[in-house]
């Protein structure tokens, strides 16, 4: 590895010019050149290192002189072939080393260019150097994605397009550059494409010029705002163009025929623009903005300088309800990242949390403004629950890692099976959690310094950056456009004058969340509430919390906030109560929000004035609270506390109190149309659970049936549902959810009650959407989900083969509906094929419960390339489930084949992550699937760098299968060096596994069967098989 002193490699980019003069869709190749202008900042610059992957480089010239170069990409083979060790720790450290070796922030790169000796003198005089690199790209596996539909016609008629994509800084996949977020330069971009195509890229489109033969045109872009290479993108295709009717400098692009959808979807964008510009008191930093909607996108949203690339599947017509908020969320996220992430970049990877935090935080403000406080608080709770669950399960998430000395031994996160040193070594899921935590921490900072100061800080960052960006000839000023943790914190203390050091130390410099257990007793003599708050700070993913905590106590006389101090050794806190218990006086009870309500107090404890207690109601600590209070207190909290978070907490707590009082409280909430609809939806499922627990004492019709009838059925004939009218979205969501929850009801025989099943079949039968303004595809899909939920395992005798004749009558009805729905979908496809997705899930459930023969072939046909992505995912999920239940090695092979070869990156990634979620076997249970060939295959997959943008997925899967230090393959590998590599598979495999390879089991083995077929089989094999069953 040539490494001639990294200190010699200091340089500063100034301008960057990229020109792609040929894009061949047929061969999926790209030819072009780049020209960098470099200011050497050190004497004697003799080597220039750049990042480049998978590009073929033809020639390099420095100031018109041919320059020799060396290309070396260590991530292509992370662990050397002859290496002895195979465990994830070893891989992880090797991989981190490989990524570090080409890290642009450390002045490294895959491409090392030797500066011609003639120019060394010039280097002494610090003169500008121009580096010119000609390159081509053939069938790229990452960086650029070609979509070329296999139909007749020209490329434009076929809607062929290409776009850049990647995880973090992956621009090196499509052109040589300094692939770092902290290296800014100005850009000049040129793309020559077919005359029928449009090339959309960053910056201003200066002009479009035909080539001499008039068959192609060249798009010239200028980006005068200093921008990092990872924020550069490109999309080329026969796009339809829509100029935003409200903002003419904003242009939207979509694939042919989708223009009506684009018009509808984008009719809203200007409001998001206005919102952000208003709260940040800053204009959108770029002079134009472009949105491009592409097929086969790897992620829903990706933001680049002055443009965002979205998945085409976000487009929708005005008839679609469910997709609308999802798409708007995506637009808002993309726009937030334009300010923080694209315009303002980061100093180093350790500062990433600031960008993600701020963009996530202002996105949250947008949610609050547009969708309301309830939605916002619900979202915060959801995010908090997600991050808490992840950290408690997997381990802490560290926002601001510091690496002292750069040695891997000082790994700040030893609990993880990957290194968090580089964005590329991270797990995808970890990064999602990282973003989630980042915006939650921003919210904590807001709690401390107030929103006003918070927005002032953002404004300061933006105005400094925009001043710096206009300094064309003073590139040292450009560092103002990079945010760092210390700079951000300094800005906060300057603006607010407050010290948020402890907060940062707790949540940013340290990983983990807080786990509280709370309980209380009421001391009647002293009229004092004795609250005990314990912490678990020894388990993985937890940390100790010391500091203030807010407790809200609702008493008869009103609601009172108390701030307690959590200290090292104090567990108990005495809180004096304001009211004496008095039950007979009839008086309205004041709530937190000033409202006064009548309550039926007969349920509460006669001696206590306490109605309910909440710990940390504002979610100002990243915590999980397990609080014990009596069932009636949870019921009061559900009915009368106006905060949706409290209501949701009460609902989840009531699950373990199956009493008529809980039932009544939940039913009342369900009926209240002033209550937040998501709370009501959650209440449906809780009610179903309670009803099942109360099965023997339940009186009246099945839970929710009469309620549904009253709300959604005709007055004159209660068994017929009204014709659909979804104009009221709250009741639409409730109408969708209730049947799904009802289908979870079970009778004494643990079957779905006949009455409920018939009710659902009637809902399907009488569903009538003719008069509706909106599509009912999501509603119908959920009715199918309801049918799926109603399924219970078939009673089978002697494991008979499933035939049509012995089909249960109820199941026959269900199957008929599903068949009809699935067939109708072929004639009249629904939006996003929601109905096919639900049908596939239903069929898998029928198979799994033994009603119909288990068979993956149907799912495999739906999993093919060419079906809508949601359908493929649903089908693959079913195949993966089949693989696990039936332990089919051929299906597992088929899946891994897809991981290798599927054209859609998202699908390849999803297969592995679904396999990791639902692994075909685990470390604990021996499985016939578990053999060395599999390990070998996965190892190769992650070792080869084939996975490019999502190289983490195979590791995650392997980790789910074997854990960090996989003993199962260590047993093979321990002896490996003695064997020649080609023989390992056969020679080392234990007997049981070898047999399996010869006679693959096609169907699930029966214990008896095995005994008969293999009377001589070793006891270990038998126990293995019986373990599986």
């Amino acid at each position: 590895v040539p490494h001639s002193g990294s200190s010699m490699n200091r340089k500063k980019d100034k301008g960057f010019e990229i020109c792609i003069n040929n894009i061949n869709f047929q061969r999926k190749s790209v030819i072009g050149y780049v020209e960098l202008t470099i200011f050497p900042t050190v004497m004697n610059l003799n080597r220039i290192k750049l990042n480049s992957k998978q590009c073929r480089i033809y020639r390099v010239r420095v100031n018109d002189l041919e320059a020799p170069f060396i290309y070396n990409d260590p991530t292509l083979e992370v662990c050397h072939h002859e290496s002895k060790q195979r465990n994830l720790n070893y891989f992880s450290s090797a991989y981190t080393a490989a990524v570090s070796a080409v890290d642009p922030d450390a002045g490294n790169g895959e491409l090392s260019i030797k500066v011609p000796s003639e120019l060394w003198k010039q280097g002494d005089e610090m003169k500008v150097m121009k580096v010119y690199i000609e390159f081509s790209l053939d069938q790229p596996k990452g960086g650029l994605h070609f979509v070329v539909p296999d139909v007749e016609g020209s490329m434009a008629e076929r809607a062929a397009h290409v776009f850049s994509f990647g995880n973090q800084n992956s621009t090196r996949f499509w052109f040589p550059c300094v692939d770092s977020y902290s290296e800014l330069c100005t850009w000049k971009l040129e793309f020559t494409v077919d005359a029928s195509m449009v090339a959309v890229s960053c910056g201003d489109l200066v002009e479009t010029v035909y080539t001499h033969d008039m068959r192609k045109k060249t798009f010239h872009y200028m980006l005068p705002i200093p921008t990092a290479a990872p924020n550069i993108s490109l999309a080329v295709g026969p796009f339809e163009i829509l100029v935003d009717p409200y903002m003419h400098e904003v242009t939207h692009f979509c694939l042919p025929q989708l223009l009506p959808l684009l018009k509808h979807t984008m009719s809203y964008l200007h409001e998001i623009f206005e919102f952000y510009e208003e709260i940040l008191t800053c204009r959108y930093p770029y002079s134009c903005f472009k949105t491009v909607f592409v097929d086969e996108a790897y992620v829903q949203v990706s933001s680049y300088a002055s443009m965002s690339i979205f998945s085409t599947n976000l487009l929708h017509s005005g008839m679609i309800i469910d997709q609308t908020p999802v798409t708007r969320h995506c637009l808002a996220q993309a726009l937030a990242q334009q300010f923080f992430g694209c315009f303002i970049s980061r100093m180093s990877w350790a500062d990433e949390w600031v960008l993600k935090g701020i963009s996530g935080y202002i996105y949250g403000l947008y949610l609050k403004k547009t969708f309301g406080v309830n939605e916002y608080r619900h979202w915060i709770k959801e995010e908090l629950d997600t991050i808490v669950d992840y950290e408690l399960k997997i381990g802490g998430v560290l926002l601001h890692p510091t690496f002292s000395g750069g040695k891997e031994k000082d790994n700040p996160t030893p609990h993880l099976h990957f290194s968090i040193r580089h964005p590329h070594t991270l797990s995808w899921e970890y990064y999602k959690m990282f973003q989630c935590k980042a915006h939650l921490v921003m919210r904590l900072i807001e709690n401390r310094i107030s929103m006003e100061f918070m927005l002032q800080v953002f404004n300061k960052l933006l105005s400094l950056a925009s001043t710096a960006s206009s300094q064309k000839y003073q590139s040292h000023m450009w560092s103002q456009m990079l945010v760092s943790t210390s700079g951000f914190l300094k800005s906060i203390s300057n603006v607010s004058g407050k010290d948020i050091g402890p907060l940062i130390k707790q949540w940013v410099d340290q990983s983990g969340v807080v786990k509280f257990f709370g309980s209380f007793a009421f001391n009647r003599k002293r009229n004092v509430l004795e609250l005990e708050i314990r912490q678990d700070y020894t388990s993985s993913g937890t940390q100790k919390y010391v500091g203030p905590i807010k407790v809200t106590v609702q008493e008869l006389d009103g609601s009172f906030n108390h701030t307690l101090q959590i200290e090292e050794n104090s567990l108990k806190h005495d809180i004096p109560c304001h009211s004496k218990s008095r039950r007979n006086k009839k008086k309205k009870i004041p709530l937190m929000n000033g409202e006064e309500v009548d309550m039926d107090l007969s349920a509460m404890d006669a001696d206590s004035p306490l109605l309910w207690i909440r710990i940390d109601p504002d979610m100002s600590i990243l915590r999980k609270v397990e609080f014990e209070q009596a069932d009636f207190m949870w019921q009061y909290q559900l009915r009368f506390e106006r905060d949706v978070v409290a209501q949701e907490e009460a609902i989840s707590a009531l699950e373990i109190f199956p009493t008529p009082a809980s039932r009544l409280a939940l039913t009342d909430i369900l009926e209240q149309d002033q209550c937040f609809y998501k709370v009501r939806m959650q209440a449906c499922f809780c009610l179903a659970k309670i009803a099942n627990s109360m099965m023997s004492t339940w009186t009246g019709p099945p839970a929710m049936k009469s309620l549904f009838t009253r709300m959604f059925c005709c007055k004159s004939c209660p068994n017929i549902v009204k014709t659909n009218n979804f104009i009221n979205f709250q009741s639409y969501f409730l109408q969708k959810t209730m049947p799904v929850a009802m289908a979870l009801l079970r009778d004494v025989q643990n079957l779905c009650p006949k009455e409920v099943l018939n009710f659902m079949l009637d809902l399907i039968k009488y569903n009538d959407n003719r008069k509706n303004k909106f599509s009912d595809n999501y509603y119908r899909a959920e009715l199918i989900d309801a049918l799926t939920n109603s399924l219970t395992p078939a009673i089978s005798i002697n494991n008979e083969v499933r035939t049509v004749d012995n089909l249960n009558t109820d199941v026959r009805l269900i199957l008929e509906e599903i068949t009809r729905f699935l067939n109708m979908e072929k004639l009249l496809p629904s939006y996003r094929n929601t109905i096919t997705v639900s049908c596939l899930r239903a069929i898998r459930m029928l198979q799994k419960n033994g009603h119909i023969p288990s068979d993956p072939s149907l799912f495999k046909s739906y999993a093919q390339y060419g079906h809508f992505v949601d359908v493929r995912i649903a089908a693959l999920e079913a195949v993966i489930d089949y693989t696990r239940v039936d332990r089919s090695s051929s299906e597992l092979q088929w899946l891994l084949e897809l991981v290798h070869n599927d054209p859609v990156h998202y699908i390849r990634h999803e297969i592995l992550s679904m396999l990791a979620k639902n692994p075909p076997f685990t470390k604990a249970a021996d499985s016939l699937l578990c053999n060395e060939a599999l390990v070998d295959q996965l190892w190769k997959l992650m070792n080869s760098g084939r996975m490019h943008t999502f190289n983490f997925s195979p590791r995650k899967f392997l980790w789910c299968l074997y854990g960090l230090n996989p003993s199962i393959y260590q047993s093979y590998l321990g002896q490996k060096p003695k064997q020649s590599p080609s023989l390992i598979g056969v020679a080392m495999a234990p007997l049981g596994l070898k047999r399996k390879a010869e006679t693959p089991l096609s169907s699930s083995p029966e214990p008896g069967q095995v005994m008969q077929e293999e009377p001589s089989a070793k006891a270990s094999v038998k126990s293995k098989v019986s373990n599986l069953l």
Binding site: T803, L815, N823, K826, Y865, G866, H867, F868
Partner: protein
């Protein structure tokens, strides 16, 4: 030309007449046949008079038809002429006027009538004048009110203006309607999908009985997002229907006269305000011309460098 017109209208007339005498029973037919036969005799004798010895049946028939048409037309015109002068019974002068009108020289008629070779034709056999069968009595036949003279025609039969519903009461009960709509749709869907399944490739859930629950096989498409994202024609159609019905409702309320009278001014204001918000598409074409967006600018021609 004139002949054919005469003929046409004549036959049409006779047709309508026979149509109007609704009940064409056998006596009427006899009566008409007898008249027709007489006419035929007349035609034949005229032919003989002209010196023909024999004629084909078709020829005679045609001439008879022409004769009948001619006479009918004379009658019709005479009637019309008389009614034009507010009388109800035609007189000789009416007939004369008609004949003149039809281009016939009336003066030649007496001479012709008194010609020597004239053949005398026996009067047609006395047949009973057709008995107009009694119309089905429906309701009370109305007499003239006092202010209408009695010589005016009588009222037509009551059945021509009395409503006599003959259909069954439609089922309007909500439950039944919904029930019917639901089962109808289900039947159509089932039949359609079964048909599609039978005529195309299928996939099956059961190995033993492939025909049970046939699933139309899934076919990958080259551009899967098109059919899944774009609303189907059916959905668009129903959307248009609901939209137009809504619009109808709006225009109805706007056209409501009381509204307009009550607040004329405010209605005017609304009309002024409406266009920018409501009618975006029409104004847009103009707008777009004004928009300066780099993607809308024309593509430049390449610079020709050869001249240098």
């Amino acid at each position: 030309m004139a002949d054919s017109v005469v003929m046409g209208s004549g036959s049409l007339n006779s047709g309508s007449r026979s149509g109007s005498s609704k009940t064409s029973t056998s006596p009427t037919e006899n009566y008409q046949l007898a008249r027709r036969r007489t006419l035929q005799v007349v035609v034949s004798s005229l032919l003989t008079e002209c010196g023909f010895e024999s004629a084909e049946k078709v020829a005679v028939e045609t001439l008879t038809e022409m004769m009948q048409s001619y006479i009918t037309e004379v009658g019709r015109c005479a009637k019309a002429t008389c009614e034009h002068t507010a009388r109800s019974t035609p007189t000789l002068s009416d007939v004369v006027v008609t004949l003149v009108e039809m281009g016939f020289n009336v003066d030649t008629l007496p001479v012709y009538a008194k010609r020597s070779q004239r053949m005398v034709i026996t009067a047609p056999p006395v047949t009973n004048a057709p008995v107009i069968p009694k119309a089905l009595m429906a309701g009370q036949k109305r007499t003239h009110p006092t202010y209408i003279p009695s010589h005016f025609p009588e009222f037509p039969d009551p059945h021509t203006y009395i409503k006599t519903p003959t259909f069954r009461e439609p089922v309007s009960e909500y439950q039944v309607v919904r029930e019917k709509a639901a089962s109808q749709r289900r039947d159509v869907e089932r039949a359609l999908t079964r048909f599609m399944a039978k005529t195309g490739e299928t996939q099956s859930l059961f190995k033993d009985d492939i025909s049970a629950f046939p699933l139309i096989s899934s076919k990958p498409s080259a551009i899967p997002y098109l059919s899944t994202l774009l609303p189907s024609e059916l959905e668009l159609q129903s959307l248009e229907e609901t939209d137009s019905s809504e619009q109808d409702d709006q225009t109805d309320s706007e056209n409501n006269p009381s509204n307009i009278i009550q607040d004329d001014q405010s209605a005017d204001k609304e009309n002024i305000v409406l266009p920018p918000g409501g009618v975006v598409p029409t104004g847009k074409a103009n707008e777009e011309n004004m928009i300066d967006n780099p993607y809308l600018r024309p593509v430049k021609k390449p610079k020709v460098r050869r001249k240098k």
